[in-house]
């Protein structure tokens, strides 16, 4: 009798846990969007259109390998428990979501910085940065693209003249700030 009931409850747990969808980076971003305490900044690369006119074919190709940049921010020094809880959740799904760690640093229990990628290191399809400070909040940044090559981006950044770079940041900032003000 007791054996059967243990077996039964075990099966039930298995059933319930398998019904609940597994948390992923994508799902986390989606659910956070519904929470007003989070701020989300999304930069579609089409924003960079006006700048890309001045670039050569190779540079345009580099720029075009990025599809979207999303930054999720949570900052509330009063909700220390929530922040600590989210750190556990985020680390858990980052570890099980097929990402490969590039860099992991933690300072005691106070802070953490993690960089992970999907794809080859010269052909990155997705990159994630997770930064965490236990008394402040955390930031989760995601770059989606198609075979992004970091070395090509370095070259691009170096070849861009200062004025170009200024125009680019200004353009992006205007768009982003304009959107959030609305």
């Amino acid at each position: 009798m007791s054996f059967l009931s243990i077996l039964g409850s075990g099966l039930l747990v298995l059933l319930v846990s398998s019904c609940e969808p597994k948390m992923t980076l994508q799902r986390y971003f989606l659910s956070a969007q519904e929470n007003p305490e989070f701020s989300l900044i999304e930069v579609p690369v089409s924003l960079l259109g006006p700048v890309s006119e001045n670039l050569n074919a190779e540079q345009q190709q580099t720029l075009a390998s990025v599809k979207k940049v999303s930054v999720l921010l949570y900052r509330n020094p009063e909700k220390v428990d929530f922040i600590a809880n989210q750190q556990v959740i985020i680390n858990e799904f980052l570890a099980s979501d097929g990402f490969e760690p590039l860099f992991f640093a933690k300072m005691k229990r106070e802070a953490q910085a993690t960089v992970m990628i999907r794809g080859d290191v010269n052909q990155i399809d997705e990159a994630v940065f997770f930064g965490y400070a236990d008394d402040q909040g955390f930031i989760l940044a995601r770059i989606l693209g198609n075979q992004m090559n970091p070395a090509a981006f370095m070259q691009l950044a170096e070849s861009l003249e200062e004025t170009n770079l200024e125009a680019l940041t200004e353009g992006v900032l205007k768009q982003v700030l304009g959107e959030t003000e609305l």
């Binding site: 860099f103 992991f104 005691k108 290191v121 070395a151």
Partner: protein, 202 residues
Amino acid sequence: MNKVLIPLSTTNIIAMKTMKIFFGLLLVAANMGMVNAQSLFDNYAEKDEVTSVVISENMFRLFANMQLVVDDQEAQDFIDIAKNVKGLRVLTTSDETIANQLKRDAFAYAKERKFIELLVIKDKGSSVYFYVEEGRGEARIKELLMLVSELSEIKEISVNGRKFETVLLSLTGDLDMEKIGALANKMNLPEELGEINKAKRQ
């Protein structure tokens, strides 16, 4: 020439299963006995009082690729070594109990893996130990273990409120000892790492 066909009888199946279990257990036992750097570091990295940094092989490949301007020997050395690094792990703690345990475990690990004690530097109240696992070829190493710890008698006198820290660093790969200094400089690693060059002159 008699060909004997062995029927797949139950006894044979049992024998095969026993073999499988036996080899399985052997494998588990072998794994348990072997201490590797990863488990040594992971144990401590989880602790609240410990600061930990892990840099993967791919990150080093990325660093090497992103070095666009190669105009000096150090940059070239950095690329050469970064391409061959399998990983870097650093643990830092100022908790005395953990530091002592960490020291013991690090020495035990170096002993068990039969590392060579390359160099010990005692200077300004701190000790730096270098242990290496030799690789193929001259001046090539597979793993470098560096332990920086302060002498306990000095600890009583806190100098200018400076916090004493114990650092354990492991660098794995196919490493050219002479180029490790370049890595330390370019990546802001503990400066003691550059001291390994002294070992060559001895």
